[in-house]
């Protein structure tokens, strides 16, 4: 390896981190130099101090834990029902026809617009938050599952038939594995919207007074801007970790799919 290549490698490895460090330093210096009020824009150092304090006294863990539980509850309901209906649609033309009408009508509706109705019906407790996120995540999952099944390679199905597979075996051993990459990408989309909807629902009608969304809106209302930023940092990290874990899981489940992301 010559020097030039080595420098390029080093730059590739270090520059992303350096850019973050540079950004934070510039922020810190800017806030201190201009004497900006923390209520408007706190310095990274004081944000991290607040973050540490919230972790130390357990508030952050509590709210994060509650939010995570809600996210997974909503996501699993959406995944189970979405995959089940998608599979049924893929295997029965009648189910597909009927479900298609409903999906076409309900999918384009912004799910947040259902919040008032759901609050009327379910109140502002756990049920409302989990239902709104599950409804939202349900659609991308069901659509991806169905399209994955419909796009299953005809050649593979013929080959399986030729090798003695019956209709049930073809569905179980060929069609569903073939649809797997599409189902997994549906689950990724579903997880994304679940996170958004849970946090949003925690901000609106927070009778339970818990969760990251509540923490954010509450800190904002009492002008504790440091806590707002600390919560945002935690939310960002949480989202990134969930997405990375999901990508790692996808590679374990479907290692035959070429992944472009690193």
């Amino acid at each position: 390896m010559n020097g030039k290549q080595g420098a390029a490698k080093f730059a590739e490895a270090a520059l992303p981190t350096l850019s973050v460090v540079f950004f934070l330093t510039a922020w810190e210096v800017f806030v201190r130099w201009r004497g900006i009020a923390p209520i408007f824009l706190p310095a990274p150092s004081s944000i991290s101090f607040y973050l540490w304090r919230m972790i130390a006294d357990g508030t952050m863990e509590y709210h994060l834990g509650v939010t995570l539980l809600r996210i997974f509850a909503g996501f699993f309901i959406a995944a189970a029902t979405g995959i089940a209906l998608g599979l049924l649609m893929g295997m029965s033309r009648i189910v597909a026809r009927v479900a298609d009408v409903w999906i076409a009508a309900l999918y384009p509706l912004p799910k947040i617009s259902l919040i008032p109705l759901l609050i009327i019906w379910l109140g502002t407790g756990e049920a409302y938050r989990i239902v709104i996120s599950a409804i939202t995540a349900f659609f991308p999952i069901v659509i991806s599952t169905y399209s994955g099944i419909r796009q299953a390679d005809q050649g593979l199905m013929k080959a399986a038939k030729d090798l003695g597979a019956n209709t049930r075996q073809i569905q179980l051993k060929v069609v569903i594995p073939a649809a797997m990459p599409s189902i997994l990408s549906g689950l990724q989309l579903g997880m994304g919207v679940t996170i958004i909807l849970i946090v949003a629902a925690e901000m609106i009608g927070g009778s339970s007074q818990s969760g990251m969304g509540y923490l954010l809106i509450n800190s904002g209302q009492v002008m504790e801007t440091e806590k707002v930023f600390a919560s945002l940092v935690v939310l960002a990290v949480m989202g990134a970790v969930i997405i990375k874990l999901q990508q790692w899981g996808d590679r374990k489940i479907a290692p035959w799919v070429a992944h472009d992301d690193r």
């Binding site: 593979l156 080959a159 090798l163 003695g164 597979a165 051993k173």
Partner: protein, 269 residues
């Protein structure tokens, strides 16, 4: 097992635009014979093997599988044959050994037993040590061997091959042809091999069935009396050259006809 094809006609499309892919094709593919179907693209040769394999329904005509001694097979069409596909159709999510053992798995054979069996076949096609690889991790030639082993494990008397080597590079193709010749000499199956390569057809086949351009009919059946075991050196013999010339002239007429047809179709649109 003989494959007796009688007046098979295949018409694609609806009421307005009908394409006759096969027109009253009749032939007896004999047991222990390597028969090559040679023809320009679009002559219906792939359609024919799919009909023989029970994977397509012919518009009219019929296919019988016949034991020369015992008479017609009572099993459904396709039960006595197995196909090797041009695009292989390996299951990308299954590793090599699970691809090879697929047919046994569908039959309900226990895992140990089917792995044992698959291992023998992997050995015979030179793929030991790659059991746990996914098809996507293998080269084209190795994938081709997996496809071959997956078909051979079925131990069906009729082997249908739809341009199996068309996508391989020249060197790999030669190796695979030799491999197939060796396997044929050992197993003695009824082989129906579709190709558009004249040299390949003569090198492998006991007979070369030259087909016409669309609609596919038999133009001529060329018997190939080169001795077995065959080897690649035979390509340089006079007999091979004579057979090649004969097939080449037949095929040239048909390719020219096919091109004229296509030009007409383009002009017509």
């Amino acid at each position: 097992m003989d494959v007796v094809v009688e007046d098979v006609t295949q018409i694609w499309g609806g009421e307005r635009t009908q394409v006759v892919a096969l027109d009253r094709f009749s032939h007896r593919f004999r047991s222990d014979r390597f028969s090559c179907l040679l023809g320009p693209s679009g002559c219906g040769k792939s359609t024919l093997v799919q009909i023989v394999g029970g994977l397509e329904q012919a518009t009219s005509g019929r296919v019988r599988i016949q034991d020369p001694q015992k008479g017609d097979s009572q099993r459904p069409l396709g039960a006595d044959s197995v196909m090797v596909w041009q695009n292989l159709n390996l299951f990308p999510w299954r590793n090599v050994i699970d691809n090879v053992a697929f047919g046994l798995e569908m039959r309900g054979v226990a895992r140990n037993e089917r792995y044992e069996h698959a291992d023998v076949l992997l050995g015979s096609v030179g793929l030991r040590g790659f059991e746990r690889h996914l098809p996507g991790q293998l080269s084209g030639g190795m994938r081709q061997r997996v496809a071959l082993a997956r078909a051979l494990i079925m131990e069906r008397p009729i082997l249908l091959m739809d341009e199996p080597f068309a996508a391989l590079d020249a060197q790999t193709k030669i190796v695979m042809q030799e491999e197939l010749l060796r396997i044929f000499d050992q197993t003695h199956k009824t082989v129906v091999f579709v190709t558009h390569a004249i040299e390949e057809a003569i090198l492998l086949g006991d007979e070369v069935i030259v087909m016409t351009a669309r609609p596919g009919r038999i133009k001529e059946v060329i018997p190939v009396n080169l001795p077995r075991p065959r080897s690649l050196e035979m390509i340089n013999t006079l007999e091979f050259g004579a057979l090649f010339d004969r097939a080449f002239h037949l095929i040239r007429e048909e390719v020219t006809a096919a091109m004229a047809q296509q030009a007409e179709m383009v002009a017509g649109h």
